[in-house]
């Protein structure tokens, strides 16, 4: 309907002025509420971002949690080297891990023994896999002999590692005055090592990637250590490091030898108490099997065959 005239005014006007044209939605107290909510929201956002903003970098999906590192002597028979690499690949494939192989001639060692190359190789692997958590160095002369052992679940998982690690024992056997710390948390451990009868074994060790790992590897690789003529080169340099520097000792856990570094029969007398290889051990190490009359290929072949059979069964 259309009205020609505006409607008549009421003859008894309301005692107050009618409310203005302002929308009732934006009443003052409601505005206050909105402002308070906004401030509260921002505060919450700020707190949350503060709390979780410093969390470690986001790890892209598909990143292998563990990388197996092995340094290969290129002058060796390629057949054996391929078998050794295949042994790592089988394990990595079964557990979703990755492998990293380097030649011991890849790095500038400046006249120091080639065995030093494991140190820059670990650093290299961490550069290549910048999001993986654990890096497992396994010497060329060692084999994974039980594919069922999972590196994370059976060794590095926090409570598992706490139960495995040996506290308050001399770092370097038999009688170093420096002892491993008694109260360490499993998730704070960045380096897992074993001891054999003579000292720290560095043919099989696990590291956690991080700033500490860079520090440790760079300090270990220091030219002054390499030029010092330690009798056993990098092995003695390592023993020196852990005994003299508390920031390294505090990140170190020692585990029994058969957890990750059992010694095969020919070198079983070098092993510590629980170090001789037994059925079902995770890793078997063959020592310097290149030196005649020993022969690596002959010694390793039965273990390789067995591991391959296990791989085929599990696959």
């Amino acid at each position: 309907m259309h009205f020609a005239y505006p409607p008549r005014k009421s003859s008894n006007p309301p005692p107050y002025f009618p409310k203005g044209s302002r929308s009732p939605f934006l009443r003052r107290n409601r505005l206050q509420t909105i402002a308070l909510c906004a401030v509260g929201g921002f505060l919450l956002f700020f707190l949350v971002s503060k709390l979780f903003g410093s969390s470690p970098e986001s790890i892209p999906s598909g990143t292998p949690p563990v990388v197996l590192v092995t340094v290969i002597e290129p002058e060796r028979s390629h057949e054996l080297s391929d078998k050794i690499k295949e042994n790592r690949r089988q394990y990595a494939e079964l557990h979703g891990y990755a492998t990293f192989f380097a030649n011991n001639t890849d790095y500038d060692l400046d006249k120091s023994p080639k065995s030093w190359s494991r140190v820059p190789a670990m650093r290299h692997a961490m550069t290549e896999y910048p999001h993986s958590t654990f890096f497992f160095y396994l010497d060329e002369n060692a084999l994974i002999t039980n594919h069922e052992v999972d590196l994370i679940d059976d060794i590095m998982e926090k409570s598992k590692l706490e139960s495995l690690m040996r506290t308050n024992i001399p770092v370097v056997p038999p009688d170093s005055v420096i002892k491993t710390f008694a109260h360490l948390k499993g998730d704070r451990i960045d380096l897992v090592l074993t001891q054999d009868k003579e000292g720290l074994a560095h043919d099989s060790f696990i590291m956690r990637r991080g700033d500490w790992a860079k520090y440790f590897l760079d300090a270990w690789f220091d030219p002054l250590y390499r030029s010092y003529n330690f009798q056993k080169a990098e092995a003695h340099a390592l023993e020196h490091l852990v005994q003299w520097h508390g920031t390294i000792l505090a990140k170190l856990a020692l585990v029994k030898q058969n957890v990750m570094n059992s010694y095969a029969d020919p070198i079983r007398e070098q092993a510590s108490d629980a170090g001789a290889a037994r059925e079902g051990d995770f890793v078997t190490y063959f020592g310097l099997c290149d030196n005649p009359p020993r022969n690596c290929e002959n010694e390793m072949q039965p273990y390789i065959d067995k591991a391959t059979r296990q791989y085929n069964k599990m696959n």
């Binding site: 700033d211 340099a237 520097h245």
Partner: protein, 472 residues
């Protein structure tokens, strides 16, 4: 009007001369003055009484019978009449039976200055809340700087943040076993300590004076006199909430105590330091590292580029790193560095070469241990560690290294003064210079006057001498 009769004297004084003068009561229009009026004859009006009456009407007398001698009395009246114009008192004047603002002139005669004053007064009154606020802010500011309040403020961690900085001053270097201290050494120590104490107090920093005298303290005798590391660690333990630790040798003098560390270095850390050593590289360190096995951050010339990752700030003089004045931050990285800094294997091979001990070892680590680089930054030498002319070259004019009075450099490090230079003399001169540069305005003014007088006196003397010469 004709003069019908001769003028005759009247009672009020004077002569009545109706023909010649204007009659006092012109309305009467009579030829002869009236004899009597009921209430005071108009002929009684004298000049003086008329003036007095008009003064009453006008409100302010040209002269007053009361208070003529008292100045206060005169002004009190003006003040009290002015008060009625202030709103506080005006209410009473509303009671007057006249219409507001009509036929009344504002007191003060309506002069322009008074208008202005009244306007200002009214504005102040209207904005009294704001006015009180401003006044109290000014008052608080003055109070803040007069009382020790500003020191508390600067100290508090979450306000000024002064307690986050610790100055470590190494006193008594090599003392104890090596040599006895003479009066000059004591004087140097006293001056240096006093200087740092005043600075630390001014900005609320912590000052830790450490005794660096050589003592038999370590199982390993090589370790002796490498105590910088242990000292820093102990200090870190002593001040668990401090963040930055500033190492200072004894032979240093803070020339400009008005610079705070925050404003001078840390607030704009990124702009005040350089991380790429190629900017100034007296050691010719190869940088950045190019070994392919290293991670990208380590190979980058500036680390990750974030100021948060800087944990060590070192100046470089003409010969490399200089640890006479450097900063180290509490961090895990620092723990590691302090731990690995001294190593017996390194020492055994290098102690003949490393005559500067920690300094050389740090340079060595910077060169050879890649993990160190991304966390080290360099500060231009003159920002925190200017040298006197005697150090680093004989000319003392290297603009990167030597103290410049004109630029008001922050600190002087009399490095190497104990070898063939006069430590105490240098310290004394720099102290005097610092005092002169930082004197107050009043002193500056006095000095200016003094200089002016002196110059005039000298000019006079010269003129006299010239005059004498001419005479002779």
């Amino acid at each position: 009007m004709s003069l019908s009769r001769s003028p005759s004297p009247q009672r009020g004084g004077g002569w009545s001369s109706p023909g010649l003068t204007t009659p006092y009561n012109s309305s009467s229009r009579r030829a002869s003055p009236m004899r009597n009026y009921a209430n005071g004859s108009p002929s009684n009006v004298t000049w003086a009484s008329a003036q007095a009456r008009s003064a009453e009407v006008r409100g302010y007398p040209a002269f007053s019978t009361r208070n003529t001698s008292s100045w206060i009395g005169k002004h009190a009246r003006r003040v009290s009449s002015g008060l009625s114009n202030l709103p506080l008192f005006r209410q009473s004047s509303y009671a007057e039976k006249e219409k507001l603002g009509r036929g009344r002139w504002p007191p003060g005669g309506g002069s322009r200055a008074a208008d202005l004053a009244r306007m200002v007064g009214r504005t102040i009154w209207r904005m009294r809340l704001r006015f009180i606020l401003v006044i109290s802010i000014i008052l608080f500011t003055i109070l803040f700087y007069v009382t020790p309040l500003h020191q508390h403020y600067r100290r508090t961690a979450w306000l000024g943040g002064g307690s986050k900085y610790v100055i470590i001053l190494a006193a008594n270097v090599g003392g104890g076993v090596m040599e006895w201290k003479g009066p000059r050494e004591w004087a140097i120590e006293r001056d240096s300590v006093k200087n740092k104490k005043a600075y630390a107090k001014r900005w609320g920093y912590e000052l830790e004076i450490v005794d660096m005298s050589t003592k038999k303290r370590y199982a390993h005798e090589w370790r002796e006199s490498w105590e910088k590391v242990d000292t820093i660690r102990n200090t870190m333990r002593k001040y668990p909430h401090a963040q930055w630790f500033w190492w200072l040798d004894l032979n240093t003098f803070i020339m400009e105590p008005s610079y705070s560390l925050q404003s001078h270095v840390f607030n704009h850390l990124k702009d005040n330091v350089y991380r790429d050593i190629n900017v100034y590289n007296p050691l010719k360190v190869e940088h950045p590292l190019n070994a392919s096995y290293l991670d990208p951050d380590t190979r980058a010339p500036e680390g990750d580029g974030k100021p948060d990752s800087i944990n060590l700030i070192v100046p470089q003089d003409c010969g490399g790193f200089n640890l006479g004045s450097f900063f180290v931050r509490r961090s895990i990285w620092t723990d590691r560095l302090l731990d690995i800094w001294w190593d017996p294997v390194g020492y055994e091979q290098k102690h003949m070469e490393w005559e500067h001990k920690e300094q050389d070892a740090l340079e060595y680590m910077y060169r050879n241990q890649p993990w160190v680089r991304p966390h080290v930054a360099f500060v231009p030498q003159r920002r925190v560690n200017s040298f006197p002319p005697g150090a680093c070259g004989d000319n003392g004019d290297d603009p990167k290294i030597h103290y410049s009075e004109k630029d008001r450099d922050f600190l002087v490090n009399m490095a190497g003064c104990e070898w063939g230079r006069d430590c105490w003399g240098e310290m004394y001169n720099y102290r005097q210079l610092s005092n002169r540069l930082n004197r107050s305005r009043w002193d500056r003014f006095k000095d200016w006057i003094g200089d002016y007088m002196k110059r005039r006196r000298e000019a006079n003397q010269r003129r006299e001498e010239e005059a004498k010469k001419k005479d002779s």
